[in-house]
């Protein structure tokens, strides 16, 4: 190599150094998540997005927007339960436990797709042929017992499709809560009855919360439950109640069911855990944890079913942590971007499978008072066959329009797999520019 060539190479290198600098993502903090390793399992699902075109988009945000970047798993509540009553038990009456007046009841005969309920039994399921007996052995019929009768046709027209033959009614709110016995004496069918009880006004809500809404294959998941009228854990009634039944299962969208181990935390909270399969069929839709709890005290027997949802994720890609930044005046002051055409930030992504991967996040900028405010949301998606860079370009025009300036921060950095509709990682505070 002669001297001229060496000089050229050095020039090219120095231009590169000035125009693109390598950085590392900030260390993750509590609440951030990312896979420890990439999946070794094959991908069995069809791709949900076949698009191979590189697309990039960003838009200005209102700096006054209140954006919460602390990811908390969702909390669900339930005040309902269901049960199936065998036809042999129906002559003895159906026990309905309530904790508040005015419970809403739905019931229907469970039969095969080619079977039909006989006319006499259908007639028996009309509320005017039922008798309701309270815990004081007092019997009620008609409007004294039930209000708001509804036919399945009316419900269907309202967009609330229910199984054929469903009967819906409300226990008269004038009747005190407690244990009722519903007598359907003329029911002669061999088909069991499914009964749904919904207690809209009950103070006893089953609250469920998972340790995370995103669960990687092979990871352990935990769901916590309590029985309280609010999210205030001090009100948790379950901790002092007798547990008669507590079951939890994981249901995949493809119909697979996995049992969970149930226990109580040291504070008496209900808890269920399970390890997810290493290789799960990835179907569209969410996985669910379904819980049934039966608790009692001296006054009530409380039955509740609830569920919470999570995304089962095969870790198909992750950030390596390497970031290339260009477009800023590196040599003088990285925080002086006035002469540049904008900022380019390229994130290196390692992949286990080809797919369409997306980087999304927020750019925060500084105001004159030194505080940071939301500036723009950015979003880039590319198809990667293997490890590669996903580049986000923030135009100088956008930066200027915002009225905010350096130092900038990249917040809420998210890596998504559009091919599998999966969230792969989230980092609340990712980079300072």
């Amino acid at each position: 190599m002669n001297k001229i060539n060496i000089t050229m190479v050095l020039c090219i290198c120095s231009i590169f150094v000035m125009s693109a600098n390598t950085y590392r993502l900030l260390p993750p903090k509590r609440g951030d998540f990312a896979p420890d390793k990439l999946t070794g399992s094959p991908i069995e699902s069809r791709s949900m997005n076949e698009n191979r075109e590189e697309l990039s988009f960003h838009w200005l945000l209102n700096p006054k927007e209140a954006i919460n970047l602390y990811q908390r798993p969702q909390r669900t509540t339930s005040s309902r339960y269901s049960m199936e009553i065998d036809s042999t038990e129906i002559p003895n009456g159906i026990t309905i436990d309530t904790t508040a007046p005015g419970a809403i009841i739905r019931l229907f005969a469970v039969h095969g797709p080619d079977e039909e309920l006989d006319l006499d039994s259908s007639y028996a399921l009309l509320p005017e042929n039922m008798i309701l007996v309270n815990r004081n052995e007092e019997a009620f019929q008609g409007e004294e017992a039930f209000i708001s009768f509804v036919s399945v046709e009316e419900m269907d027209e309202a967009g609330f499709s229910l199984p054929e033959g469903t009967v819906g009614f409300q226990i008269n709110p004038k009747l005190e809560a407690g244990t009722f016995t519903l007598h359907i004496d003329q029911y002669q069918s061999e088909f069991p009855l499914r009964v749904h009880v919904f207690e809209k006004d009950s103070a006893y809500l089953l609250n469920l919360q998972m340790n995370s809404d995103i669960a990687f294959e092979g990871s352990q998941i935990t769901v916590y439950g309590d029985l309280s009228p609010s999210s205030n854990m001090a009100d948790d009634a379950s901790s002092t109640m007798r547990t008669e039944q507590f079951e939890a299962q994981i249901h995949s969208p493809s119909g697979a069911i996995y049992p969970m181990e149930t226990s109580r935390t040291e504070y008496g909270r209900l808890m269920a855990t399970a390890t997810l399969p290493e290789k799960g069929s990835i179907s569209e839709g969410l996985w669910e944890v379904k819980v049934k709890a039966v608790l009692s005290d001296s006054e009530y027997k409380i039955i509740r079913e609830g569920e919470t949802a999570f995304s089962f994720v095969q870790p198909t890609a992750r950030f390596t942590g390497r970031v290339e930044i260009s477009g800023m005046k590196v040599e003088s002051n990285i925080r002086d971007d006035r002469s540049s055409k904008g900022i380019s930030v390229a994130f290196e992504v390692d992949t286990a499978h080809p797919g369409r991967y997306e980087v999304k996040g927020l750019l925060f900028g500084s105001s004159r008072d030194g505080k940071m405010y939301p500036l723009a949301m950015f979003d880039t998606a590319v198809y990667l066959e293997e490890k590669g860079l996903i580049e986000v370009v923030l135009a100088q025009e956008t930066l200027k329009k915002s009225g905010l300036s350096a130092p900038y921060k990249i917040m809420g950095l998210t890596l998504k797999d559009q091919s599998r509709l999966a969230i792969l990682s989230f980092q609340r505070e990712a980079l300072t520019l």
Partner: protein, 284 residues
């Protein structure tokens, strides 16, 4: 609540400068529509709304399969194709999108995921704003109730299997996940790139002696009055008010603009009832 007026002035200003070619799109809710003009919206509603256009021919009524998950090619893909073709065929530079119910979620998918499809950025660029009539932004407990029967009872799968993907998606705990990770505009999340303005139905009134109960169909409204038993005190018979106001900005509660302060049931919020069509017409 934010005022839409400020945005209107800005749009009027830019319209004057750029001579905007304004169009309007009607996006239906859950279901597979093939003739939404006649079946879902009804001609009298559409024709009243488009009176607000300079060129009343610049409207489109979307027909897609919204029984699918919102991201599905037959749902958001179909909606994107329809809007994209409409924009290009008529040179639309200013598009107002009117959605009903789950149609708001499908539109919000497009606004929230601009890099999913190369047509999305073009559509977002041309959209002035979305007028979301009774959007199911936080889902509905009714979807939970419909799909909950399978708990520990897999044998019942056939019986409840008709719960479409769209119904599953609109369960409250599913929407909570999608709002947190895939959709924008809910509390604490960044806003959508274009405004998402909701009109909220607050009640259902049915009485055989009250002619207002017949607007949109008496039996449909009667069913919605009964489904209110599963919902909060403020609901349109299918959605809690909290769900309808759960994303974007509140434009109007029904009682703020309807004739006689009438509430709009979930069925009436897509029909020519109590001044709704006039509100939308004047917004164009």
């Amino acid at each position: 609540m934010r005022s839409k007026t400020r945005y209107m002035f800005l749009c009027l200003f830019f319209s004057a400068v750029t001579l905007a070619n304004t169009g309007v799109a009607f996006v239906h809710g859950t279901g597979h529509q093939t003739d939404a003009y006649n079946d879902y919206w009804k001609p009298e509603f559409v024709q009243k709304v488009i009176q607000g256009l300079d060129n009343p021919n610049l409207y489109t009524v979307i027909n897609c399969d919204f029984d699918q998950f919102m991201w599905n090619s037959d749902a958001a893909g179909c909606l994107a194709a329809s809007l994209y073709d409409f924009i290009n065929a008529h040179g639309i530079t200013d598009l107002v999108v009117i959605t009903h119910s789950n149609g708001g979620n499908v539109m919000r998918w497009i606004l929230s995921n601009p890099t999913w499809d190369s047509r999305y950025p073009v559509i977002i660029d041309r959209v002035r704003w979305v007028n979301a009539l009774a959007p199911s932004s936080l889902g509905t407990p009714l979807a939970n109730a419909v799909t909950s029967g399978t708990i520990f009872e897999q044998a019942l799968g056939w019986l409840l299997g008709y719960a479409s993907d769209a119904v599953k998606q609109q369960q409250t705990h599913w929407m909570s996940y999608y709002n947190q990770y895939w959709l924008l505009g809910t509390s604490g999340r960044p806003s959508t790139p274009k405004g998402f303005w909701s009109v909220i139905g607050t009640d259902v009134e049915t009485s055989i002696f009250d002619p207002d109960s017949y607007c949109g169909g008496y039996s449909l409204n009667l069913g919605l009055e009964i489904t209110q038993a599963w919902l909060d005190n403020c609901s349109d018979g299918f959605l809690n008010c909290a769900s309808q106001s759960g994303a974007g900005y509140i434009w109007k509660y029904d009682y703020q603009f309807t004739d006689g302060d009438e509430p709009l049931s979930h069925n009436q919020s897509r029909r020519k009832c109590f001044g709704l069509a006039e509100l939308l017409r004047d917004d164009l």
